[in-house]
């Protein structure tokens, strides 16, 4: 029941595709394939070189309305106050409710002329770097299954999240920081840590949750500071430890586990410095902080950028606890406030990544677990809001091998269903992200309980049209 995961096992469990590709990695190290996997987070290659090296997934949890943001629907104006035609009332929350046109004006931006609503004026300045996917669709207009689907590719069972898959497959570039970090200010989104779970993968691949309402590094990363000994004292301790461990190892020279543990203390010592540094946005020049703006959203996106810059593989940034974008009522007011908080930092992130030359190999993904109805919320007591809608919604991606200035796919004239050949299911999105990160999603597997599991299960299609 207690067995080290050897490299060989990791390979076997990694499935054939991984095994074959990782063989090259092993050839250089005679017999090392049977050494226990000392640091499963060490960087390793995917199936092929990916266009993106790291991902930032900005999760607008609650389900942002697409018809108020990235998917203009003039037909709603004509239909205003009337029920949608019968075909548009099928299988969702539009049934029996009247069309509710957006109150926000759309305008064309950039050379691409993509229309974006006035909620995102700052982000829209970067529209030529964005690929807006208007034909997203998922399976279930309820938060829980849709959150799990978007994060883990499966709505009910325990499965590893996308960030876990990627840190498992690629390791992480900076051993002094966690490889997969999930940030959410003020508490958890609903479903809490299940959103960044490792499922059947080892627990170390689970996302490290950070509550970004705090600014103190020791509240952000556990045990990263020591209140009782100084750095100098700790160096003295580690020096003694090294000597004692060397003595212990003399007669046990064959065991790489021992050396790995010795190394881990050196790494940990450096991690204290690096983590403190990474999370401290005050070390950014004033003009950069100004660019991101003063609020929590700005701070957490700036932290995210600092983490990405330092080699963290996957950063997920949630808007806030529970479900801020779940605008069941007074959507005009609530979404205005949210967009106001998020627009400036989002635009700043894209520009900042671009200025640093990071955008080309950083994949930025923005969206919620689904969208919202183009009709007014029908439940009693709810005024001027929109209900959940999984049949059609918008997301956008930027950087990391994604074609900028593109609008991909569409919903029908009222924004109810994703239509046409260009519609993108969440599984397709996952397949595409894995592809951009260098994996064939059908061969990126992990053997568990006798079965080879995939992020995309038996589904998914790489959406080639999104690729630059």
């Amino acid at each position: 029941m207690n067995q080290p995961m050897s490299r060989r096992e990791l390979l076997c469990r990694g499935g054939m595709g991984m095994g074959a590709l990782m063989l090259a990695d092993l050839m250089g190290q005679a017999f090392a394939d049977d050494a226990p996997t000392l640091n499963p987070l060490a960087p390793k290659p995917g199936h092929y070189p990916g266009r993106a090296k790291r991902v930032i997934h900005i999760f607008a949890n609650g389900g942002p309305s697409h018809v108020d943001t990235f998917d203009p629907k003039p037909a709603l104006d004509r239909q205003s106050g009337k029920a949608l035609p019968a075909d548009f009332q099928k299988g969702g929350n539009t049934k029996g409710n009247v069309a509710f046109p957006t109150t926000f004006k759309f305008r064309k931006y950039g050379q691409s002329g993509t229309e974006v609503s006035e909620l995102f004026p700052n982000l829209a300045q970067s529209i030529d770097d964005l690929c807006v996917i208007r034909g997203m669709h998922a399976d279930d207009p309820n938060h829980e299954p849709s959150l799990l689907l978007m994060n883990c590719g499966e709505p009910r069972q325990s499965r590893p999240s996308m960030g876990s898959w990627l840190t498992y497959g690629l390791g992480t570039e900076n051993q002094n920081l966690p490889g997969f970090i999930a940030m959410c200010p003020g508490g958890y989104p609903i479903y809490q840590s299940q959103n960044w779970q490792s499922g059947f993968l080892p627990g170390i691949f689970q996302g490290t949750y950070i509550d970004t309402q705090f600014t103190e590094v020791d509240k952000l990363v556990e045990n990263v500071r020591n209140g009782r000994v100084t750095n100098k004292e700790q160096q003295e301790q580690l020096d003694l430890l090294r000597r004692l461990n060397q003595g212990h190892r003399e007669s046990r020279a064959d065991d790489p586990q021992l050396e790995a543990r010795i190394q881990s203390f050196e790494l940990a010592y450096r991690m204290q410095m690096d983590a403190t540094d990474a999370f401290d946005v005050m070390r950014e020049p004033q003009y950069v902080r100004d660019m991101y703006g003063p609020g929590t959203q700005g701070r957490q996106l700036l932290i995210a950028r600092r983490l990405l810059e330092r080699g963290v593989r996957f950063v997920q940034v949630w808007t806030g606890r529970e479900q801020p974008w779940d605008n069941h009522q007074n959507i005009q007011e609530s979404i205005s406030k949210l967009a106001k908080d998020c627009d400036q930092p989002l635009g700043a992130l894209i520009r900042d990544l671009k200025q640093r030359g990071m955008l080309e190999d950083t994949l930025v993904v923005w969206g919620g677990e689904f969208g919202r109805t183009p009709t007014v919320e029908g439940r009693p007591g709810k005024v001027a809001g929109r209900d959940h809608q999984s049949s059609g919604f918008s997301m956008w991606m930027a950087g990391g091998g994604v074609k900028g200035g593109r609008v991909h796919g569409a919903t029908d004239e009222f924004g109810v269903h994703a239509i046409g050949d260009d519609k993108v299911h969440v599984h397709d999105l996952h397949a595409t992200i894995l592809h951009l990160m260098g994996f064939n999603h059908e061969k990126f597997t992990y053997r568990y309980a006798g079965r080879d599991f995939r992020l995309t299960d038996v589904h998914g299609r790489v959406v080639k049209e999104l690729l630059a």
């Binding site: 809490q192 209140g227 009782r228 003694l240 004692l244 790995a260 881990s264």
Partner: protein, 1056 residues
């Protein structure tokens, strides 16, 4: 010509039959299997099987598509496919729907799916499905017979240990191990030294290190059975059950919470009673077959008054709650039973037949039916009669109060809702509907927009002809002549109300409705018998959504009391439902597409030829079939798990997968022998441990042999013992044990162990939140409790080292070691080091280690407590003794106000990373204070700047708490370098960087972010800027730090 023609025919026929023979058993590649499984089979199952499979109610067109034979044989129109030639395949024609034969009937397949079928036929229609063309029962048999030949489904063989003449062999295990080694011309490693051996077996059996006294006693015991005695002592220790119980809890996916829930209590009510039952079962050495039986069906085997075994059912009930989705809860239970007890991955068959093992989907749903036939009882049973105590009394009182809240709320709502049915209009409507009812109250109520339950009450009430109905009976739609007769008899309000004949029954009802609002009928209206008066028992059906929300909220308050300190222990048990569930196969695992009904019964592969379906729910029979010596897997799987703990890996490395895709056993004969010996020993787990740990194989050292390592790098032949690392529990418990603080208390509710004040309970009693598993657990490879865990991963990551270096828990425990009297009484460093070594590592320090330790404690920097003050502080005043901290750290920086400046008390005082703003007068200078952590010489650099066009600039000073003002500058619209050096400081001395407004409160923004150097260290005001620094904690003494290093050492964490 004729001859040649027939020759051609013969040749053609010959070719055809040869081709067909090839088709009979074409080799299928893994890719082809995958293609079939992903693209073809699902379509067959979903779109074709309903009419074209052996399971179909009525096979259409004589065509079966559920086997390759069926496809080749075809139906009424001939063979369905010609492998390799899609254009000639009827199946493809039918799918394309170009001719008369169009399939599927209802809807054409999408083009890409048809293309898949074309591609599949073109590649020769590779088809891994087991042929099943005969009628169902007989049909399945050949494949089962074939599948039974797989080693794991064969009964464990009766094998005599190989004869190996060697004194090395202490137990039959050794004969098996040595025979294999000798085959490869290898020799076992020498026996580990006694100290190593005792530590190994103590950690293995109890999860704790041996104490120094235990080591001494063992080393002093020269008797030949010294080791046996030690093993028996350990097996008799209650610590044994805590260690081995925890191993079992891994595979039982034990946790204290349900997972994500919407608006119910997230904590499981009594999971700890299961945990405690498991620990006790190991300590009591309950025979394993009974141990299993109770965990599956304790409710059915219970006899007598002792209800404590009911807690065993936690095995099934401590899993995730899956938002109460029944199919997923049952799937989880099937998984924990099948992988946990049988090493079979049965849940693979949820959506389709198992791809590798002989587990058809039907078998999955047979088990599904068993678990769907049980449910949690309304009230969880008490494990024992509660004893009166202050806690219990408090619990009862609170329980009564909270339940009364619910009753009170419901009664209030009952009164309110009943009142809405008493208006004259309501009474008229119901009376009329009841009078006219044709015996279908549900439909009639719906049509009239009435409440069906109330209407039924009205109908019953009319039937009972109460006295209050007399006026109605008298006047309702009577012929005129009778009416007047009735009126003559009437008096009072009735006479008034009905003085004129009603035009219709409706009008009569309306009058009657009004009549009842007044005396003397009002009393009737308000009486409990009156139909509008909802009985309290029925109120739930009348509650609104909001009401129900409120009841849930109140109910949750009651449920929370399950966690009250005085709540008596209960079992999270199951009971059989009154009527068993008759399961149907869910096609593709989807409950929305139920298929054939299947009987509740055990897996075919583990059953006799003739399976007997279960009559009742079947859980007891299932339990018996698993907890059986006849079951080829149960004993094998368990002995392999125990082996894996004692030897580092299992004989079958995939401990929870004994199927075709699992690993084959490295020592199959030994595995069989162990399984039989285990059963023969009465399924005694303690005897099994004894058998293993007393073997010479177990007692080997971990010494390396480079040649052997090259030949057998995974040590599958066991040419030595495997070195192991303490897992989370053993690590944390070992630290507590050596510090002398380990709390031996057993059982009870789980305790939080990851936050201060730190619990000293054993880790097995730590709270496991499966939703947000504590970082400590994740960091140290704890078994993720979302599902059955076959074994722990062992990873090495820096976060583990951070815990050892920085967690207050480890530092605190290091201090406890130093406080021990046996350490304190040694005043000489060398003696003290020896006492610490004995305590922490269970041995004497070597001369070299003594020297290292002595050097460390004598030269280690000890930083005085005073310098523990935060390095940087932010305040206002005039400096030195006049320093007042600024209270708020905001996005702007440190300031007086929580949100916006100016602050009434401190005005515009603000300190940012790079500068700030001075206060409103000279007494309100802003102060950036640095406290020296040690003595030495400092140098300061930086630039004080004032850049506003307005105002008179600012005044900056550097002031020492010990030496007074060190330097000062005045700046207005310019920068001044603030460079001084060679300043001696003491530890704890403060250096203040003060900026005031020079008197004119106008435009006093400044920049100043000094950098201080002391020896090799540097403090940068800008880089170090931040919120509240960690609270100053007591410094660690040199000895504390020394002990911490020993706790961090590889020797402490690894077990040879």
């Amino acid at each position: 010509m004729r001859l040649s023609l027939s020759l051609v025919a013969v040749l053609l026929l010959g070719t055809a039959s040869a081709a067909q023979q090839q088709q009979a058993a074409p080799p299928i590649s893994a890719d082809q299997v995958e293609f079939f499984e992903q693209k073809i089979r699902p379509i067959f199952v979903e779109r074709c099987y309903k009419c074209h499979s052996t399971g179909a109610d009525k096979v259409k067109g004589g065509l079966l598509l559920d086997s390759r034979d069926g496809l080749l044989k075809g139906g009424d129109s001939g063979p369905a496919i010609v492998p390799g030639d899609p254009e000639k395949s009827i199946l493809i024609k039918a799918l394309r729907q170009t001719d008369d034969l169009r399939m599927p009937v209802k809807e054409k397949l999408p083009d890409e799916q048809i293309a898949d079928f074309v591609a599949w036929v073109r590649m020769g229609a590779p088809d891994p499905r087991i042929a099943t063309t005969a009628p169902t029962a007989a049909r399945a048999t050949p494949s089962i017979v074939e599948a039974r030949k797989f080693w794991a489904f064969q009964p464990a063989r009766e094998i005599l240990p190989p004869i190996v003449r060697a004194p090395w062999c202490r137990t039959p295990i050794d004969n098996f191990i040595l025979a294999k080694l000798e085959e490869k011309r290898m020799k076992p490693a020498p026996e580990a030294d006694p100290r190593t051996l005792l530590r190994r077996v103590t950690v293995d059996l109890t999860g704790l290190p041996p104490t120094a006294a235990e080591i001494d006693a063992f080393l002093a015991d020269a008797s030949p059975d010294a080791f046996e005695k030690a093993v028996d002592r350990l097996l008799a220790s209650p610590r044994y059950g805590e260690r081995w119980g925890r191993h079992w809890l891994d595979l039982a996916r034990y946790a204290d919470t349900k997972e994500w829930v919407v608006d119910e209590e997230r904590r499981l009510p009594y999971p700890y009673t299961y945990r405690d039952w498991v620990i006790k079962a190991f300590n009591d050495d309950i025979p394993y077959d009974r141990f299993v039986l109770l965990q599956l069906a304790a409710d059915r085997v219970q006899t007598g008054d002792d209800k404590s075994d009911l807690a065993a059912l936690g095995f099934l009930t401590v899993g995730r709650s899956f938002l109460n989705r029944q199919p997923d809860i049952i799937d989880d239970r099937i998984d924990v039973v099948s992988r946990g007890l049988l090493g079979l991955t049965v849940t693979c068959a949820r959506c389709h037949d198992h791809k590798y093992d002989p587990i058809p989907t039907k078998d999955y749903y047979s088990l599904y039916g068993v678990f769907a036939s049980s449910a949690a009882p309304k009230e969880m049973p008490l494990l024992a009669a509660p004893k009166m105590s202050p806690d219990y009394a408090a619990y009862l009182k609170e329980l009564g109060a909270r339940e009364a809240e619910i009753s009170k709320f419901k009664e209030t709502r009952r009164v309110e809702i009943s009142a809405t049915f008493r208006s004259s209009a309501q009474i008229a409507a119901y009376l009329l509907a009841a009078e006219e009812s044709k015996g279908k109250p549900d439909d009639e109520a719906k049509a009239a927009g009435l409440n069906a339950a109330i209407l039924k009450r009205w109908i019953d009430w009319l039937k009972s002809s109460p006295e209050a109905l007399a006026p109605w009976r008298a006047f309702a739609a009577r012929p005129a002549e009778e009416y007047w007769v009735a009126l003559q008899d009437a008096s009072g309000p009735v006479a008034v109300a009905f003085s004129e004949p009603p035009a219709s029954l409706k009008e009569a009802a309306e009058r009657y409705g009004k009549l009842l609002q007044e005396d003397p009928y009002k009393a009737v209206l308000m009486s409990p018998e009156f139909p509008s008066s909802i009985p309290i028992a029925d109120i739930d059906g009348f509650l609104t959504g909001d009401d129900r929300g409120k009841v849930r909220q109140l109910r949750r308050k009651v449920e929370e009391l399950n966690h009250h300190a005085g709540a008596p222990a209960r079992a999270m048990t199951l009971e059989e439902s009154a009527t068993p569930h008759y399961p149907r196969v869910f096609i593709r695992g989807n409950p929305g597409t139920p298929g054939d009904e299947v009987p509740r019964q055990f897996l075919a592969i583990l059953s006799p030829e003739e399976r007997k379906p279960y009559k009742d729910g079947g859980r007891l029979e299932l339990a018996r079939a698993i907890a059986s010596a006849e079951n080829p897997l149960t004993a094998r799987v368990f002995v392999n798990r125990v082996w894996a703990e004692h030897f580092g890996t299992g004989l079958v490395r995939t401990t929870s997968n004994f199927g075709v895709r699992g690993d084959a056993p490295t020592h199959p004969e030994l595995l069989d022998w162990l399984a039989r010996a285990f059963v023969a020993d009465g399924w005694s787990i303690k005897k099994l441990h004894r058998l293993m740990v007393l073997s010479s194989a177990y007692r080997q050292s971990t010494t390396d042999n480079p040649e052997y390592r090259k030949a057998d790098p995974l040590n599958t032949l066991l040419w030595r013992q495997n070195r192991r690392r303490l897992d989370l529990e053993a690590m944390r418990d070992s630290i507590l044990a050596v510090s002398g603080t380990l709390d031996p208390a057993m059982g009870g509710r789980s305790v939080e162990i990851t936050t201060a004040p730190y619990s000293t309970r054993r880790t097995v009693y730590g709270y496991v939140d499966r939703l947000n598993l504590a970082n400590l657990y994740k960091t140290f490879d704890f078994a993720v409790p979302d599902m059955h865990s076959p074994g722990r991963f062992v990873t090495t990551i820096p976060q583990q080292a951070l815990f050892m270096m920085n967690s207050p828990f480890v530092m605190e425990q290091a201090g406890r070691v130093v406080e021990l009297s046996e350490v304190q009484r040694e005043e000489q460093p060398a003696q003290r080091i020896q006492a610490i070594y004995r305590r922490v590592l269970g041995r004497a320090a070597t001369a070299k280690e003594l020297a290292l330790g002595a050097a460390f404690v004598s030269t280690s920097t000890t930083t005085p407590a005073v310098s523990r003050a935060p390095i940087w502080q932010y305040g206002y005043g005039t400096g030195a003794a006049d320093f007042h901290p600024l209270p708020n750290f905001t996005a702007q920086g440190w300031m007086g106000a929580a949100k916006a400046l100016p602050d009434p008390a401190t005005g515009w005082c603000l300190i940012t990373a790079t500068g700030g703003h001075a206060g409103n007068d000279v007494a309100h200078g802003v102060i950036r204070r640095w406290t020296s952590p040690q003595a030495g010489l400092i140098s300061i650099s930086g630039t004080l700047g004032h850049h506003s066009k307005d105002g008179d600039g600012v005044h900056g000073r550097i002031v020492s708490s010990r030496q007074g003002e060190l330097a000062a500058w005045q700046v207005a619209r310019l920068d001044a370098e603030t460079k001084i050096s060679g300043i001696p400081v003491e530890a704890g001395e403060t250096i203040d960087f003060i900026v005031d407004c020079r008197g004119d409160v106008n435009s006093d923004s400044f920049t100043w972010a000094p950098v201080i150097r002391l020896g090799e260290e540097e403090w940068n005001a800008q880089a170090n800027f931040g919120g509240v620094p960690p609270k100053a904690a007591a410094p660690m003494s040199a000895w504390d730090k020394y002990v911490q290093v020993l706790l961090e050492s590889n020797e402490f964490i690894f077990v040879d």
